[in-house]
Symmetry: C2
Subunit: 334 residues, 2 copies
């Protein structure tokens, strides 16, 4: 223990010595490395994974959590706005589920306090999965494979909404992406980034991006107005945080999205209006910072942003328990 | 080699001795075990896996091969008929992709000679993925990650429809399900099946089911009329093989579906009209064999059918290459 304190003391001292230099020591940085997930209930995680991939939690039997938070594609659907039951067009861009455990709350307007509260939303939303919590429980109860999985995770055969959403959240808690090149750099590997990428990071800090995009998730920890300096003309009708607080001051305040894996989570913004990173960086500079980045600056910031892509969650495709004769059948067309 | 010949001779001899007994030796059975997949080009299989899961081969960016041939759910969507672009209702039940390599041809009417020819169909079908082969090529060419994967699989950067469908087929060739309890029994483990399941198998053979459902895939190797003894009132407009041959005699002739993993591939028949195995067995008995199975017989046959569930393909969820700035964007709503 004394050794560790000493080491920490040395690092701090070195950091103070280097203060003001372009590349301060990691523990002085406004962004912290992503830690690997710790799993306390592996059976709940396995159950949650199955539920996350199971389209039988939707009325159609076609839409699962993974449909819009596709873990093959950065935990998003890469669509401007999502496709819901009956091909309904969603009002807002689907945020990534990756590293969502670091968000101060869930959804763009923060209306769900945590991942468990979030998980219940889409299942019962008539514009998304269009199911009901009651039907979800009935469906899962009918399948011996699921009954066994709930027993393994929670010690009894009981299946209820609380357990369903807890299991999905337990799985989502594991969806972190450590070991990005930026994190390798933060941890001391100075060769992990190129000069260009480091210059982009300096610009990212010096221009003020980091005021909102900080912490381990490089965002996700505050609400901010979309259009601080210049009004943002959104193609989405969503008004943000005001829908939760009722306060006029919260109009167009949205949760700052994580920039982790931002290379994978296009298109950008709550309305999905920016297709590419250069476009997103340009817009952010103008409407949030009142700054027009030059082409060279834009290129450097984008180069830095691409170093935030971490190890993607790696696991075997779950094999879902088959429906039983008594399992309610999907109703995609009525 | 001489040792193997000798062993084979002994088995044959033993089988002849037991001829006429209820449970003949494996090499006398009309069903053969599923063999594990042999992979000749692993890079093509990996590429094909990515393509199989990539919704960017559809106009919407939402539908992949796996949407309707979901490998978490027996290689099917478990829907009566599938959901296509814009939530269009498909005309026919999606057949399982599992063990499809054993089919004499692909699609219910056999209009594709092989898996490669099949793979091109849904991509360009306006009622399914609603894309075009040209756009698929343009999309994949725009992504460095895919260009590298094609190079690794085929030795050059060229991306064309032939290579796309070859890779998907190479992946699908690996989607076999060996080691079912029935195959364990076929290979000599007499404890692998219960008395009830064996009685079901005997009924399956003695009633004539096996006339069409035979071979390693327990089907997939012939076209047969749906409604031999009694007309079958289908809810699907599909007329089967006549659409390919133009011959009136082929009306309502469909490819006999595999019964491998039939526990997972509900609902049943080309129109997906039978939700459960007891219902499917009852209907088949009546319309194909002119036989009304008793409840006990039905139960036994269903018990046998459930022994055909093999080891499901087991692999890590592919992580797809991100779109580049130049990649055409999905058009889900226009």
């Amino acid at each position: 223990m004394s050794v560790r304190l000493t080491a920490s003391f040395i690092v701090t001292t070195l950091a103070l010595v280097h203060q003001g230099s372009a590349y301060a020591a990691p523990n002085q940085e406004p962004i912290q490395p992503i830690q690997a997930a710790r799993v306390s209930n592996p059976a709940a995680v396995e159950l949650g994974k199955a539920l996350f991939f199971d389209p039988r939690l939707s009325k159609s039997g076609f839409i699962s959590c993974n449909s819009c938070h596709n873990l093959s594609m950065g935990g998003t659907d890469n669509l401007k706005t999502s496709i819901g039951h009956g091909w309904q067009q969603g009002p807002i861009n689907a945020p990534t589920v990756l590293n969502s455990r670091f968000n101060l709350a869930q959804f763009w307007d923060g209306r769900a306090a945590d991942l468990k509260a979030q998980a219940g939303g889409p299942i019962a939303n008539p514009g998304e999965m269009a199911f009901s919590h009651e039907l979800a429980v009935t469906t899962l109860k009918s399948m011996p494979g699921y009954v066994g999985a709930f027993r393994k995770a929670y010690g009894s055969d009981e299946i209820n909404t609380d357990r369903i959403t807890s299991a999905i959240a337990a799985f989502e808690e594991t969806l972190v992406t450590p070991n990005s090149r930026f994190d390798q750099w933060l941890k001391g590997n100075k060769k992990a980034l190129t000069t260009n990428e480091l210059a982009g990071y300096k610009l990212f800090k010096d221009s003020g991006c980091v005021a909102c995009h900080n912490g381990p998730a490089v965002g996700g920890n505050s609400y901010q107005k979309m259009g601080v300096v210049e009004a943002y003309k959104a193609s989405s009708p969503a008004e943000g945080r005001v829908a939760v607080t009722g306060k006029d001051a919260d109009r167009f305040n949205f949760k700052v999205p994580t920039l982790r894996n931002v290379e994978l989570t296009y298109p950008y913004f709550h309305d999905g209006a920016a297709n590419t990173l250069p476009e997103a960086v340009d817009t952010m500079g103008r409407v949030q910072l009142g700054r027009k980045f030059t082409a060279d600056e834009n290129t450097k910031i984008v180069a830095f942003l691409k170093t935030l892509t971490g190890d993607q969650p790696s696991f075997k495709m779950p094999i879902l328990p088959p429906s039983a004769d008594a399992t309610p059948r999907p109703q995609p067309f009525n």
